[in-house]
Symmetry: C2
Subunit: 135 residues, 2 copies
């Protein structure tokens, strides 16, 4: 078996697709399984751009408190323990909350056929809109 | 999006395939994605039977200290932070260590075509053999 560690934060995420301090540790090689898995570490205030996945995505929140939003819906709070099931082709973003860092595993099923499309950055206005705090 | 929680331990694992106190919380429905994901909680001393997966499996150790062994090789210690990549069709087992409980996520890629074959229980002799402590 091969082993890696999700304790390590990995490398800076590409600034074209993320805003703020974000690190990505790719835990599986794309050629080894038909799934991609990474742990993504967001400093407070950091987030992805808006984006879609043709095969959906699953997030496992490993540390902290963050936000998740689907286009046209309110921001939802996500926190350690949450497993978030993102539907296929739904425009969304995720990231840390205003004051707390957040780390999540990101899992893409059927990664060999998935297409992730990166869209516009999440503006300050969007990031600061009303939040639904789902407990 | 749908949300579940990995804090919850779920239901007792089937005694035909596990030994000792093991709980399984299935985090995704099989029909929603082409991957299955669960969190499995092993009390100290508890473990799976020997088994194989035609599409391999990935473990993420979320809490505690456990063991992983492939047939014909020594037992390896796995601990919180480890991501274990199990090759296809390799006979193996995993579980908690002698004195410490362990929880891991278990992810099966291409779950719609995966076949998991459950084999013999891990005997006390096998469980008590020499351990390679990989740090």
């Amino acid at each position: 078996m091969k082993k890696s560690s999700f304790i390590e934060k990995g490398n800076p995420a590409p600034a074209d697709y993320f805003l703020g301090d974000v690190n990505v540790n790719l835990l599986l090689k794309a050629e080894d399984y038909n799934t991609i898995m990474a742990i993504v570490s967001f400093d407070a205030g950091a987030r992805t751009n808006w984006h879609t996945h043709t095969n959906g995505q699953i997030l496992i929140v490993a540390e902290g408190v963050g936000y998740y939003q689907e286009k046209g819906k309110a921001i939802q709070v996500i926190k350690v323990g949450d497993v978030v099931q993102i539907p296929v082709n739904v425009e969304h973003w995720h990231g840390a909350s205003h004051e707390t860092a957040m780390r999540h595993f990101a899992i893409i099923p059927d990664s060999k056929t998935d297409k992730t499309e990166w869209l516009a950055p999440v503006t300050e206005n969007e990031y600061n809109t009303e939040i639904i705090n789902e407990q």
